[in-house]
């Protein structure tokens, strides 16, 4: 079993065999980053071509977490049964996935949604957005070598998960937002607890700003790194904080409204390039931080004015929408999450196609990381905020 360490026959060592005289031959190195690597946020594999510490090219290899979501959806006996699978796509924002799928089927059914459900869904989606962004920001801090903000973020995310748990019993994959309503009504004391959370959460945000956002080293590591210009972002169909970080004022919650977002006071946050160039990693990070603040505002307003009422509309157990097709998009924490659903009039969907924002956002990674350093790649990949469950589905 002894490994031989002899040089390969085509090894160029003698002067006459080098192409450029007696100079030392240097070469690009191919480096395999992942699927087991701390900074690929899951099972992404990046093939790096590096020249020393400089990245010449990045080739993402995906599919390690492929679970045939779309095929599964076709083989369910019921439209509602797809929802647990939608949960597992982007497992950090299950509520938003559920809602997006429910929206699509409800559009097929041309269903009116009870008022209380609209409020509950918005509160859940915004809590989920905060939870998801907290992970994005926290793991980003780890990517940059700062460990402490990560745990602060997780501490507050725990409180959101507690809220979810008291509502539907699950902490990660909720199966809560159903077609036509939600599975359970809000438990007693949910409203106060949500208010308490919003109040305390502002303090956490300030702490994270103090220790991370305006930290000189953090700014040095993220400002002017991985700059994604406006036009490139649009050409690659980036969405969510990726797109807004590049200064494009586009948020589906406002520009293609669904739910009841139009009733509340909130603002779309875009990157302004305060620390460096518009569209750098710091901007994308900052957009997420500011969106958490906006989500807090939304939750506070919604919780204060939530009406009483039913949480399920009267629909048959086995839904049979008329034959037809529909595309519905919504703003998940990672961007435009769309569901394209074709119905053939039977009880299960004929085809379900998900437009996953993380997958589309990931495609721009090679474009913005060429010429950066290996450490920058970690910063860039972290700022894209991919969830491999959604990339691979």
């Amino acid at each position: 079993m002894k490994e031989s360490r002899t040089l390969p026959t085509d090894y160029v060592s003698s002067p006459e065999r080098t192409s450029s005289g007696r100079t030392l031959r240097t070469d690009e190195m191919i480096l395999n980053m992942g699927p087991q690597h701390p900074s690929t946020h899951g099972v992404l594999r990046l093939e790096l071509v590096v020249d020393g510490e400089i990245i010449v090219d990045v080739i993402p290899h995906i599919g390690y977490l492929h679970r045939c979501f779309e095929k599964h959806a076709e083989h369910m006996t019921n439209y509602q049964q797809v929802i647990p699978y939608a949960d597992r796509m982007d497992y950090l924002s299950s509520m938003c996935n559920d809602w997006a799928y429910a929206l699509a089927v409800e559009k097929l059914l041309k269903l009116e949604i009870p008022e209380r459900v609209q409020y509950i869904r918005l509160i859940m989606a915004e809590l989920q957005r905060i939870a998801s962004h907290l992970i994005a920001v926290g793991t980003y801090a780890i990517d940059m070598g700062a460990f402490t903000p990560f745990l602060w973020c997780f501490r507050d995310r725990e409180r959101i998960l507690d809220l979810f748990e008291m509502t539907c019993g699950a902490r990660l994959l909720y199966n809560y937002i159903w077609v036509g309503g939600v599975s359970h009504d809000l438990p007693p004391r949910f409203v106060e607890k949500a208010k308490d959370f919003c109040r305390d959460f502002r303090k956490t945000l300030k702490e994270v700003h103090d220790v991370l956002t305006y930290n000189e080293i953090f700014i040095k590591r993220t400002a002017n790194v991985g700059v994604l210009p406006k036009d490139v972002a649009i050409n690659y169909a980036c969405s969510g904080p990726m797109l807004r970080g590049s200064g494009v004022d586009w948020d589906l919650r406002r520009d293609d409204p669904y739910g009841i977002y139009d009733r509340f006071e909130w603002a779309v946050q875009i990157g302004k390039g305060e620390a460096g160039t518009v569209g750098d990693c710091w901007d994308r990070y900052m957009v997420r931080m500011r969106e958490m603040e906006e989500s807090t505002k939304l939750i506070e307003q919604a919780v204060a004015s939530i009406p009483e009422g039913n949480v399920q509309s009267a629909i048959p157990k086995r839904i049979r929408p008329e034959a037809g097709e529909v595309y519905v998009r919504s703003e998940s924490p990672r961007g435009e999450l769309g569901f394209y659903v074709i119905s053939d009039g039977t009880a299960s969907p004929y085809r379900v196609k998900a437009r996953a924002p993380a997958f589309v956002n990931l495609s721009v990674l090679p474009e913005i990381s060429r010429g950066a350093m290996v450490a920058d790649l970690v910063a860039i990949a972290g700022s894209v905020d991919i969830v491999l469950g959604e990339v691979d589905r």
Partner: protein
Amino acid sequence: MEELLQSIIGESWILYVLLAAPPLVFILVYALVTVWTEMKVSAHMQDRLAYMYTGPHGVLQPLADILKLLQKEDTVPAAADKPLFIMAPYLVFIGTYAGFAALPFSSAYIGSDINLGAFYIIAVSSIVVVGLLMAGWASNNKWSIFGAMRSAAQIVSYEIPTALALLVAVMITGSLNLQDVIRFQEGGILNWVVFGGPLPVVQKLLLLPFTLTAFLIMFIAGVAEVNRTPFDLPEAESELVQGYNTEYSGMKFAIFYLAEYANMYLVSGVAACLFLGGWSSPFGDFMSGPLWGVFWIVVKGYFFVFLQIWIRWTLPRLRVDQLMYTSWKVLIPFLFACLFGVGLILVL
């Protein structure tokens, strides 16, 4: 202590073993305490509890960790360069441990009272680089070699500011022997080199900005030399998995960590000796003496170890080019200015 032992045992190898043992005992005990401190300090900063089950507040957890590491299978990758792979952690530890020889622990005890003590520590701790390079190369892993190259570049770059800052203190005290450097500063907190040393008041005040800067830089460079955050690029977990020690497990891995913790104390101890009066009491004659000396140097050294832990759990990590920039374009020019200023003031 050397004379005392010599008079009892006489000139034999036992004498040298006895003289060399105290730092090793110190390192082992200190490493256990520091592992625990590091966990507790970080947990306190992060709203966690850390070790709680093994003994009261988990004080026995470091011992349990060591037992676990001793039992672990000692794996060597099939493609590794075996002799180098096995040698590397010990070489790293030797580099650090050798430095302890010239580090005074009290007015009565120093491993080896050599004339060029400070210079010797700087020189001998460079062996660490060789060990790290060996570890990275022998692992036959691209991430490890990345880490090793980075650590070599980093330690070599940061040795220059360390040596220059050391020169500032040496210029004021006029000796490279750390015992002499400390004796020079005896007589209270105001006689410490960081406050200008025991010189006339005018000279002290003129020296103050230079000594403070040099001291600060000495500390920063020390943090960089032991590869701790924000300078922990060689083992940057999120980039290089674990850097040069990725492929190590069991006791070899533990020895890398032991060396890192020992090195943390070494740079802190040297800074304390040069700038903060080493084993001398901050209150003049009060609480001074050979045994109090041990207390004072450990307190001073440990204060900086604590600072390093504090910094580690607060700051993000620099990038390679920024790291080099900090050393060559910020720290070194400042130190040249310090050297020039101190020289000028001393001559006048």
